[in-house]
């Protein structure tokens, strides 16, 4: 059934040790969630170079979600601490470039939180659907 509803494209980086396992649990538990998110597994939320997020927007995604272990649970001890500092600073910088802070979200999801993973995805999708499509409208052009 076709609808006119805006279906955002959202990129999700999930850490190998907690959040990706959480996503797996959501799947094996057969929890339903919205299909707008494309998940990329990375070893740690600390592996998320802010360049990845900027590049995602350059390529035209509507939002980026970064999921890592809860603070204190990082497999590499302090990778998520670094993500916790980088992402807010990146959001401040993106805001100057006209990208709403709500388009980037950092969440902690553990391996046992399949239901939480599903609800985070639903929340993020609804929020970005409300913001509307991300379009750079310029940059390649000068007029």
């Amino acid at each position: 059934m076709a609808t006119d509803r805006f279906e955002p494209t959202i990129l999700c980086f999930a850490c190998n040790w907690c959040s990706y396992a959480g996503a797996d649990l959501a799947g094996t538990s057969r929890i339903q969630y919205q299909p707008n998110v494309r998940v990329i597994r990375v070893m740690c939320s600390g592996r998320i170079d802010p360049t990845f997020v900027v590049k995602a927007f350059q390529k035209g995604v509507d939002g980026v979600l970064i999921c890592g272990c809860h603070i204190g649970d990082c497999h590499y001890i302090e990778g998520n601490h670094k993500a916790a500092r980088r992402i807010p600073l990146l959001k401040k910088m993106l805001a100057q470039l006209g990208i709403e802070e709500e388009r980037v979200r950092l969440e902690w999801v553990s391996a046992s939180e399949g239901d939480r993973f599903a609800s985070v995805i639903n929340e993020v999708t609804d929020q970005i659907r409300k913001l509307g499509p991300f379009s750079r409208n310029g940059g390649e052009q000068h007029g």
Partner: protein, 330 residues
């Protein structure tokens, strides 16, 4: 050997790059010996029609400084590209947009509003703005059109070599002069500088990079021996190409990033966000808020010279504000 034909041109720039050419001192005689200059607006009285009259590919080298932000600069970039065998982006503005590219945080309408209406020195109740053409006594007068977006030279024409720097240091200019004199040019697309980061080449004492406060340069007199980042001063060395001779660092001033990103870095600003946030010791929400507070202007600090060359290139333009445009850049 026939003399080389050399063109020097300035677009959106401050003129510092042209002065840097003169800073090579007595070597300028070597340039004069090697080359006939066909255009150099800052120093010689050649006109555009002199350049137009030259056959294509007849100029050996064009040193082009400045970013491209209006139709005249775009036209001259295309003209000089057609006439020149080798096109060199000379200086940070031509390479990455430079300081003028901070104009990409705004657009033509906002700039006109500020300059011709809001500025305290403006008295313009009729809201008169510059026009690209106007009739005066039956004659049409023309002005170049200002673009919404500041572009790098390579976004407008093909560029063969890049010499970064604000302005490029004398030793790099001499390196190019020597390469021209001997005919031993580097591979196409080369950046005439180091492949390492500035941090790699910096000789300051480096210990542990953990900071709890960021000082702005005017708030502190730094220790001249120790790493500036470790003293809490934002230094762009971790994500800036070396080869500049660390002139700012030697003057006890932090790197501001004028050599652009090193090889392999796609976005200088995003990399700097990564490195600065990594070393700032903030755990609680309060400490995090303090860090964000202390980094007053992330775009202006991390993309000071490179906004036009960054992945996003400019501030997003709301879709309603996008009007008809002139012509897509290459």
């Amino acid at each position: 050997m026939a003399k080389l034909k050399l063109a020097l041109y300035w677009a959106a720039s401050c003129g510092g790059c042209d002065v840097a050419v003169l800073d090579i001192n007595e070597h300028i005689l070597k340039v004069a010996e090697l080359a006939d200059i066909v255009i150099w607006p800052v120093a010689l009285d050649f006109k555009y029609h002199h350049v137009r009259a030259l056959p294509d590919n007849s100029v050996d080298v064009c040193l082009f400084n400045g970013a491209i932000r209006n139709s005249e600069q775009e036209e001259l970039a295309k003209l000089l590209r057609a006439k020149s065998k080798v096109m060199v982006a000379f200086g940070s503005c031509a390479c990455f947009g430079g300081i003028p590219a901070l104009g990409n945080l705004t657009n033509r309408a906002e700039i006109f509003e500020r300059v011709y209406v809001e500025a305290p020195s403006s008295d313009n109740p009729a809201r008169t703005f510059p026009q690209t053409a106007i009739q005066v006594d039956g004659n049409e007068l023309e002005l170049p059109e200002l673009f919404d977006t500041v572009l790098t030279l390579a976004q407008v024409v093909d560029v063969d070599y890049f010499i970064p720097g604000c302005p490029p240091p004398v030793d790099l200019i001499l390196k190019v002069v020597d390469a021209l004199a001997t005919g031993q040019l580097p591979p196409l697309g080369a950046v005439i500088a180091s492949d390492k980061t500035l941090c790699d080449e910096c000789e300051r004492k480096k210990e542990e990079k953990k900071i709890t406060k960021i000082w702005r340069p005017h708030e502190i007199i730094p220790d001249p021996e120790r790493c500036l980042l470790e003293q809490g001063i934002i230094c762009c060395g971790p994500a800036t190409r070396g080869g500049c001779g660390a002139r700012c660092i030697a003057a006890n001033f932090p790197c501001r990033g004028c050599f652009g990103p090193p090889a392999g870095v796609h976005d200088q600003g995003a990399k700097l966000v990564s490195s600065i946030a990594s070393i700032y010791q903030a755990e609680s929400g309060e400490e995090l808020a303090r860090m964000l507070d202390e980094i007053v202007d992330p775009v202006g600090t991390f993309y000071r010279f490179g906004l036009a060359d960054s992945l996003l290139r400019r501030k997003r333009v709301p879709s309603a504000a996008v009007g008809p445009r002139v012509e897509a850049a290459q």
